[in-house]
Amino acid sequence: MNNSVGNTGRVLWAGLRALLVLTLVCGVLYPLAVIGVAQLAFPGKANGSEVTDASGRVVGSELIGQTYHLPLKDGEETASADLKWFQPRPSNGLGANSVNTQYSIILSGATNRSGDNADLIKWVTDAKAAVIKDNSTAGYQVRPSDVPADAVTSSGSGLDPHISPEYAKLQVHRVAERNKLTVAQVDELVAAHTDGRILGFIGEPRVNVLKLNIALKDLVAKG
């Protein structure tokens, strides 16, 4: 009995020492080495792919989606979309920081609603109606069948930086009207900011909303 207790103790002690040594290797040396090489070889990417606007101000990351809202008015609970800019996908799953309230970190996440969930059906229906209403102009009527799925659904992270090229094209008439540009000008802008599949088949075609809006701002400034 004593022998087996002593034996168990010895094995546990060996286990603890193994854990500490492997923690040093995998939890300290390895991540530091990767940080060192990454910071030297890919400093921009390793630090979050930040992008600057024409004036050199950092306006976000090309990988993290943003909202393009009007300032919150008195009595309003949620800010409304600033329709001058291209709009991203909905982000109903994005959470507010609840654990450690000294920060307001963006909490990534999805809605996790199922296809037959009443909330999701309402969100999608409302979003579709809003997309049709917002994007129809005097000379251009959006049909329900024109609205792509990504325009009315929330992404997995809630931070999707992209929209589909179809959703970008849908917004062209509205954006042109609000910025007093021609449809052809904005069309050209969207075409220039549409990325195809990597190597022709990996991933999906997409438009980076932040980069597109930065280019739009430049175009408007140039008149």
Binding site: L16, V59, S145
Partner: protein, 554 residues
């Protein structure tokens, strides 16, 4: 190019990449676990551990090593979270509550990586990088060690010795997981994954104001999270977060990492038992199930049945634009047919049948190709059962790889396959009998049932993905899922090692004309059938109440 065609081409590219690495990696791993040589840095480690790596262990000693190392790991990780608030480098995050700290410690040590916490607002650098990421390495290496011990049980005769646990553990980390991780992490950074120690900081926004980000050693953790089939994300959104999985290429690369070692281990198995063909038969079984599941998933997601998806015109809820339906479906199947549980899209918002496929993948026991190590030993247990069933049909004592499958062996195999269903179905039933657990559900009806069934399926099978609508940060779920994860990981290991010991003691029986040819495609077919029948009989009633009911109604 249509999205469907692009999805199929991505699957083909994945097949080619996995095919190219299969032989070199499988042979290399066989060498790693058979070599007599200890490298200099490894000798330092053994010295620090105080273990002689050349001493052979019988199964009880090997098991003691596994359990002692894992027990110490749980305790260490638990304490690390409990004192987080007083540690430097914790970004001001407070200590984790006892029930959640237990759940998380059990989860990462059991290679599950179920997360009831929100990564970016709960865990600082020390816990993430020095605690959780370390378990990503070592829990994977433990799984591989146990698988190799079972393979040695088949390969060796008239001994009982299964190798040395400390040597297998250290070699798995140092010679296999670390080198691939270093290269893989840099590939991910090159794609755009972050790797820094910036902590919480503000970044300007286009329309003014600022966003608050939490930056850390993400790429180095992301790569081992996939390679070691762990799955615990740095961020709450896991591999859907652009900082973890920035583009279509990184997405395909991460799926490749998930499947890399589990598939290649069948080559290692073939090498070590002296018949590559036996390895191919196991590989064939895994590949058939994996490809079949992927095809089904793509079909149901592209055809998007369900009220909300019909209105939206596509099942894009919970999916990222850059991956699309194809890249998301391939990932979802890979992560649930292995013990990974990382997600690049949220399974709760898949179609009814799609959600069912992810659940069924886990319920098969995660063996196609399964977790690193656990996939191989799980599949070999199924092979033992298949051989036994075939033996019953022709009235012969069954044999596999020259070893008799007698009463003792079949008892161990039977106990193995009973553990997880008992945990999954028992805890799911208990959750519905009690009053409060059901309050955690976000969705109601069939999908609400699925949320809880998914949680225990994921926990007991050591997957870690979720129908994340379930609020699992309650004392009930933290405790019971924690227990399910530990029992679901370590009880089967007891039976695997006992079986290995029993096999290694046997004298091999010579092959005769009546021996079942387990290297032939016929056996692969028998094995697929056995897996489907056993899982189907066990889980069909529960699946009928959840995903099948939802899918048929849509």
């Amino acid at each position: 190019m249509s999205p469907v065609l692009a999805g199929v081409l991505q699957l083909l590219a994945l097949l080619v990449a996995l095919g190219l690495s299969y032989r070199p990696l499988g042979d290399y791993m066989a060498k790693v676990y058979s070599s007599e040589k200890h490298y200099k840095p490894e000798k330092w480690v053994y010295k620090a551990v105080g273990a002689n790596p050349s001493v052979e262990m019988r199964w009880p000693a090997y098991l003691r090593g596994v359990l002692a190392f894992s027990a110490v790991s749980v305790l260490f990780l638990y304490l690390l979270q409990r004192v987080q608030g007083s540690l430097p480098g914790s970004l001001g995050f407070v200590s984790i509550d006892p029930d959640q700290a237990f759940n998380t410690a059990a989860s990462f040590v059991a290679n599950t990586n179920w997360q009831s916490y929100y990564g970016e607002q709960a865990m600082g650098h020390v816990v993430q990088t020095g605690g959780l990421a370390v378990q990503n390495f070592v829990s994977a290496a433990v799984g591989m060690a146990v698988a190799v011990a079972l393979v040695r049980g088949f390969a060796r005769s008239r001994t009982g010795e299964l190798g040395n646990f400390w040597a297998d553990l250290v070699r798995g980390v140092v010679r296999i997981l670390l080198p691939i991780s270093v290269i893989g992490a840099l590939v991910l950074v090159a794609c755009g994954a972050i790797q820094n120690f910036s902590g919480i900081h503000e970044v300007g926004q286009f329309t003014g104001g600022a966003q608050q980000w939490n930056g850390g050693a993400v790429a180095s953790q992301e790569v081992i999270k996939e390679l070691g089939t762990n799955g615990g994300g740095y961020f709450n959104a896991n591999s859907a977060h652009p900082f973890e999985n920035p583009n279509g290429l990184s997405n395909l690369f991460e799926i490749y990492l998930i499947l890399l070692i589990p598939f290649a281990l069948t080559r290692t198995f073939g090498r070590m038992v002296g018949s590559l063909k036996q390895g191919y038969a196991i590989l064939g079984t895994m590949a058939v199930i994996w490809l079949g599941f992927t095809a089904l998933m793509m079909w149901t997601e592209f055809s998007h049945h369900g009220p909300a998806f019909d209105i939206a015109g596509g099942a894009m809820e919970g999916k990222e634009t850059r991956f699309g339906i194809g890249g998301s479906s391939i990932f979802a199947v890979a992560t649930t047919l292995t013990s990974t549980g990382a997600v690049n899209s949220f399974h709760s918002s898949y179609t009814g049948f799609g959600g069912g496929i992810t659940m069924l993948g886990m319920q098969l026991g995660e063996i196609a190709p399964g977790g690193v190590g656990s996939g191989l030993y799980g599949m070999l247990i199924m092979a033992v059962i298949a051989v036994f069933i075939a033996g019953l049909m022709v009235g012969r004592t069954p044999e596999y790889l020259g070893k008799k499958i007698g009463t003792r062996e079949i008892k161990f195999a039977a106990c193995y396959i009973l553990v997880t269903p008992a945990l999954v179905l028992g805890f799911t039933a208990a959750s519905f009998v009690l009053d409060t657990p059901a309050n955690s559900m976000t969705n109601s009806g069939a999908h609400g049932f699925s949320e809880i069934l998914y949680a225990y399926t994921s926990g007991a099978n050591n997957n870690g993905s979720a129908f994340a609508g379930l609020n699992a940060d309650t004392q009930w779920f933290n405790s019971t899922i924690g227990i399910a994860m530990l029992l679901g990981r370590f009880l089967p290991m007891v039976f695997v090692l006992a079986l290995a010991g029993s096999l290694a003691e046997q004298t091999p029986v010579p092959e005769t004309a009546g021996t079942l040819r387990t290297e032939k495609p016929l056996f692969t077919g028998l094995l697929v059938g056995t897996i489907m029948i056993i899982t189907g009989l066990t889980y069909f009633p529960a699946l009928a109440l959840g995903p099948l009911a939802e899918g048929l109604a849509a």
